[in-house]
């Protein structure tokens, strides 16, 4: 089997240059899509027959919630790759993910609470999805806390990678247990995302926003990744060139 593509992909100078070239594409596309999604969501989409204009929070809440999980998964997969094959770039990807994911997890919690306030009449409801989101925020904080407490980058990379992998194994279990617990204690929640009967004019802006946020994640990841790669390389000759331009 030919592994050269794999090693090329894992080589820091190649990734660094690739990241620099790709960032504007992802960045500007996501910017345009966010603008389109906002217009569609705030203006074009009709008000919900039950929640009126309050449902428009979905266009920021759902993409944030999607980000929180997608970024964690990306982080855990990158961490596992770094751990198994000792690939520095993979660790750099994992390290770049955490702050992005944590910030959107926080946004998902805040918007979820703001959405719940008029619907439930209270600022916080122990709704299974919000609770899972809260635990996810703790997982992110733990990951960043562990990284921050270990000075040596290599050790920090590997220790936090183990934690990320353990975390991703636990996320479904946590989600399941929270849903199970919730079903014992209260009626099913008001917020239902997967309503099959969502009109197209409502659905399209949502899909656009999901795509836009995903591309945005890639763009920010690529910028952070370059920083992380730089801090992991020691006096390699290509760094001089990379910094020169």
């Amino acid at each position: 089997m030919n592994w050269t593509w794999f090693h090329r992909l894992a080589s820091p100078p190649y990734i660094f240059a690739l990241a620099r070239r790709l960032t504007p594409w992802f960045g500007w596309t996501s910017g345009l899509l966010i603008a389109a999604g906002l217009y569609g969501g705030l203006v074009l989409a009709p008000p919900d027959y039950q929640q009126g204009d309050g449902f428009r929070i979905i266009y920021v809440h759902a993409p944030s919630a999607w980000m929180s999980l997608m970024v964690y998964t990306t982080m855990a997969v990158a961490a596992a790759i770094g751990l198994i094959w000792r690939i520095k770039v993979a660790h750099a990807v994992a390290a770049s993910c955490a702050p992005i994911g944590a910030s959107f997890t926080f946004a998902a919690l805040a918007t979820g609470s703001l959405w719940g306030a008029p619907m439930w009449g209270t600022w916080w409801e122990w709704d299974p999805r919000l609770t899972s989101e809260l635990i996810l925020l703790f997982l992110y904080l733990g990951y960043m806390g562990l990284r921050g407490s270990i000075e040596d980058t290599q050790r920090a990379d590997r220790a936090s990678a183990v934690l990320a992998v353990v975390g991703i194994v636990n996320v479904p279990i946590i989600h399941y247990s929270v849903t199970w617990w919730n079903s014992l204690h209260q009626a099913p929640s008001v917020m239902r995302l997967g309503k099959p009967a969502m009109p197209v004019a409502m659905l399209v802006p949502l899909l656009i926003m999901l795509l836009a946020f995903t591309l945005f994640f890639v763009a920010v990841l690529l910028v952070r990744l370059r920083g992380e790669i730089l801090s992991r390389e020691r006096a390699a000759s290509w760094i001089g060139e990379a910094l020169g331009s």
Partner: protein
Amino acid sequence: MSNVTAVTGEPAALAGEEGRGPPAPASMLDAARLVLLRDLKLAFRRRGQLVQPLAFFAMVTTLFPLAVSPELSRLREVAPGVLWVAALLASLLALEFLFRDDAHDGTLEQYSLSGQPLTWLMLAKTVTHWLLTGAPLALMAPLAALSLGAPGASVPGIVICVAVGTVALSLIGSIGAALTLGIRRSGVLLALLTLPLSLPVLIFGARATELAIRGSAYGAPLELLAAMAILGITLAPLAAAAGVRISLE
């Protein structure tokens, strides 16, 4: 290949005591037994450390009647939650000692260089941790539950639930303890890493205990608890061993 001679160093050349042949390697079971016995012996030489988590558990469960109300009917409602939060914190308290001394005096290095699977030795250490905290907690929990208004008939159920749940807690905790090795003042970080992962244990454990106190069938949540303990037994020692190796680097 040509330079392999009788004189040069195949391990067999080190044929052992008074020419009785090479030493017999210890089996995995022997190794685990010794790790377990050593930790038990050390724990009983330091009884103060052994009692601390249990005293903590007793303290916390005593605080609740004082903070909530002495009415047994109200206490009975919160009893499962109190028991499990206290057990979780007590188990967490003992975790800091799980690997700390071994890391400090070089024992973990010797374990990882022993030629025995480190995962297996970590499992032995975690079992010891459970024997020293989880098992006593399981025996103490009914006392605390009785003082919180649980009926006497619920005692066996509570013992089983806490015993199974603390197995899972010890295993999850061993990962956190291994990952925070070598970090100064790691207590809060250890809690931050371990508590979110322990959440399912808390949920199922409290539910099973609640059902046991009410006198209903608690089989379903207990099975889920046991499933998590089994999943933990298969996966947690792997992660703990990886964490220990990383801390030695």
